[in-house]
């Protein structure tokens, strides 16, 4: 496989929320890279910090959150050092995002055609009429039947699947280099969701964009992503390509998570359980955040946060079990 360049490099990103109840350490030095033209999956259970990662990249972290340290390099330039004006011109044109609930992400008082055309007006300074025509064109590309007619509809007149397509159209208007998708199929029916997955894959290939796909569903990851990062309690515990992840996962959390999924292939009576529960991020466990639930935990696990170790080319694990078994990244 040819070596691809990195489009996005997230380097030790640390984001915290200063809430009334205490300091929430949402992201604890998260690092990963997304290469040009690849689909990178960020997978984890609720509260692991995947959505916060997305908003941190776009620097849209809601108060009382703040990015404390780290770098987010888009094509070599650190986004965390840009000012508001520069970020505004990046959001929607170089990096675009689609969300889980299209209903609340589309403005109910504007017609679809106009909303989808907004990035054309804002970023590319096209006229309103031109923008509407271009919006119709891109809606058709995302599989909108009768795009001319439907562009005149309001969001509530469309089904969930069509709304999601509209959002994807809006995201792709300025041919972004990176598309961030935050659980876009979670609220959709299986068959409609599959259409959206196929659509994104086709469009990604056509536009050559990279995709950061955020989900909690391992099956979606298996079918969509080229490389995957598994998140737990604010840290990435394992990073590798998708096939290796499913065949040869190394981190105890990943392994047990995969075994906890009921799937057609297994005929086991009991699903594997992970004892305990996801920790609070206000006073997270010391050292490795998974150690209270890990049956391979050693003394060092509660004291020192594990470094990321490359156990084989392209496969990184953050676990003390693999100390000395690969090079530290």
């Amino acid at each position: 496989m040819e070596a691809r360049e990195d489009l996005l490099v997230v380097d030790r990103l640390k984001t915290q929320f200063f809430t009334y109840g205490g300091l929430v350490e949402a992201l604890d030095e998260v690092s990963f890279e997304i290469k040009k033209g690849e689909i990178f999956g960020l997978v984890g259970e609720s509260g692991c910090g995947k959505s916060v990662t997305a908003t941190s990249i776009l620097r849209l972290v809601a108060k009382p959150g703040k990015i404390i340290s780290g770098r987010v390099l888009l094509d070599g330039q650190d986004l965390l050092e840009k000012n508001d004006h520069e970020m505004n011109s990046i959001r929607g044109s170089r990096i675009a995002m689609i969300f889980q609930d299209p209903t609340s992400s589309l403005n109910p008082v504007f017609r679809i055609g106009r909303q989808v055309g907004e990035p054309y007006v804002y970023h590319q300074h096209r006229g309103k009429r031109q923008a509407l025509m271009d919006a119709t064109r891109i809606l058709a590309k995302t599989g909108f039947p009768d795009a001319d007619e439907k562009a005149r509809n309001y969001p509530h007149e469309l089904s969930g699947g069509l709304r999601q397509r509209a959002m994807i159209a809006m995201a792709l208007t300025c041919e972004p280099e990176l598309l961030i998708a935050d659980e876009p199929t979670t609220n959709l029916d299986v068959t409609i969701g599959r259409q959206i997955l196929d659509l994104v894959k086709d469009l990604q290939r056509e536009f050559g964009a990279s995709v950061l796909w955020i989900t909690h569903d391992m099956a979606v990851v298996a079918q969509m992503c080229d490389r995957v990062g598994v998140m737990y309690a604010g840290s990435i515990v394992e990073k590798t390509d998708v096939r290796t992840l499913f065949r040869n996962a190394k981190h105890p959390y990943t392994v047990r998570l995969l075994r906890a999924i009921p799937s057609a292939a297994k005929s086991a009576e009991t699903l594997e359980e992970i004892p305990g529960s996801v920790p609070q991020l206000i006073h997270p466990p010391s050292g490795c955040r998974f150690h209270p639930r890990c049956d391979s935990a050693m003394d060092v696990c509660s004291q020192v946060k594990p470094l990321e170790i490359e156990v084989e080319p392209g496969h990184v694990v953050a676990c003390h079990l693999f100390r000395g078994k690969g090079k530290v990244t």
């Binding site: 029916d189 068959t191 599959r194 099956a219 979606v220 096939r243 799937s263 009576e269």
Partner: protein, 321 residues
């Protein structure tokens, strides 16, 4: 041959759409559905939005009155019975909902929440009731000191356990699980599913499990019904439906669900379902699936296919080739 705990015959439910007291349309939520739930079994009901599974579930428990049809519980028709006659039925059936955050009264202590069925059926009061609740909590893996707390102090997974404990109060025979694990994380879901299986074996329960998640349904059920736009299109044992899906919709549904094997993405998929689910107010004529069906024939838009036994109790509603 096990006895049927529930038997539904030609169950139909539609909701009238009224405009100034005149009926201008109908939502055909459930149409002519018949199936049985054997005692001690688990029947899984799958389908996408608008298929009517939620309405069907509530109709079976008589929370909604069916428009027509029969619901036989232990052989007796429960439709149009008085509240008093239904008391035994209500004690023997229970329901667990999807959202653990709204299914427990936030103003009540856990002891009261879980013990509510006992109070309703006058089984136990006061201290005795609290003792029974304690044993129920232990059964679902919770502690004694949880008795006198409020629901908001518990996590989603724990609340679902509480909802299950409440369902178990009064020793029911049948529990309807309406997307009971859909709002839970994978690791929490695994625990709840294991627990449900264990409880079923220990207490001899019968389940009906509704879900959109095919892998969960497969894990839990021994029989599966597939619904589309108010009709049951396929029904059979778990293996029959998953290994030999026959109805085009079932095949499309199974093909659409992403698999856990990354290599599957390279294999061409045999069925790709296009289009949206039509509205239940003006459903397509004949076979409701015909506009999206890859093997639609001439008669499919005129005639309605009935459920036909294609062998060993595997029922499919589709015209043969």
């Amino acid at each position: 041959m096990t006895t049927a705990l529930f038997e539904c015959r030609n169950l139909t439910k539609f909701f009238p759409i009224k405009s100034l007291f005149r009926e201008t349309g109908r939502v055909h939520a459930v149409e002519d559905v018949s199936f049985t739930i054997p005692e001690g079994g688990t029947v899984g009901l799958v389908g996408e939005s608008g298929c009517g599974k939620t309405t069907l579930a509530r109709t079976i428990l008589l929370l909604i009155e069916p428009t027509s049809g029969q619901i036989l519980f232990r052989g007796e028709d429960m439709v149009s019975r008085s509240k008093r006659e239904l008391r035994r039925f209500r004690r023997e059936t229970a329901i667990v909902f999807q959202d653990p955050y709204s299914s427990l009264d936030p103003r009540m202590l856990i002891a009261d929440v879980v013990g509510e069925p006992l109070v309703i059926h006058k089984v136990a009061f006061g201290e005795d009731r609290d003792d029974v609740v304690l044993s129920l909590l232990k059964r679902v893996g919770l502690e004694a000191d949880h008795l006198y707390r409020y629901p908001h102090e518990f996590s989603g997974g724990q609340r679902q356990r509480l909802a299950i404990a409440r369902a178990l109060a009064g020793d029911p025979k049948f529990i309807l699980l309406d997307e009971a694990t859909s709002a839970l994380d994978v690791s929490v879901q695994a625990k709840i599913l294991n627990m449900l299986n264990g409880l079923k074996a220990d207490l001899g329960l019968t389940y009906m499990f509704i879900s959109h998640d095919l892998s969960v349904v497969r894990h839990l059920s021994d029989h599966i019904g597939v619904m589309y736009l108010g009709r049951m299109v396929e029904y059979g044992t778990r293996d029959q439906v998953f290994d030999t899906p026959t109805h085009p919709y079932t095949r499309g549904l199974l093909a659409a669900a992403p698999s856990l094997d990354p290599d599957d993405r390279d294999r061409p998929r045999e069925v790709v379902l296009q289009g949206e689910v039509p509205s239940a107010v003006e459903p397509p004529s004949g076979c409701r699936f015909h506009p999206r069906c890859p093997v639609c024939k001439a008669q499919c838009d005129r005639e309605r296919p009935e459920l036909v036994d294609i062998g060993d109790g595997h029922l499919v509603a589709c015209f043969p080739e």
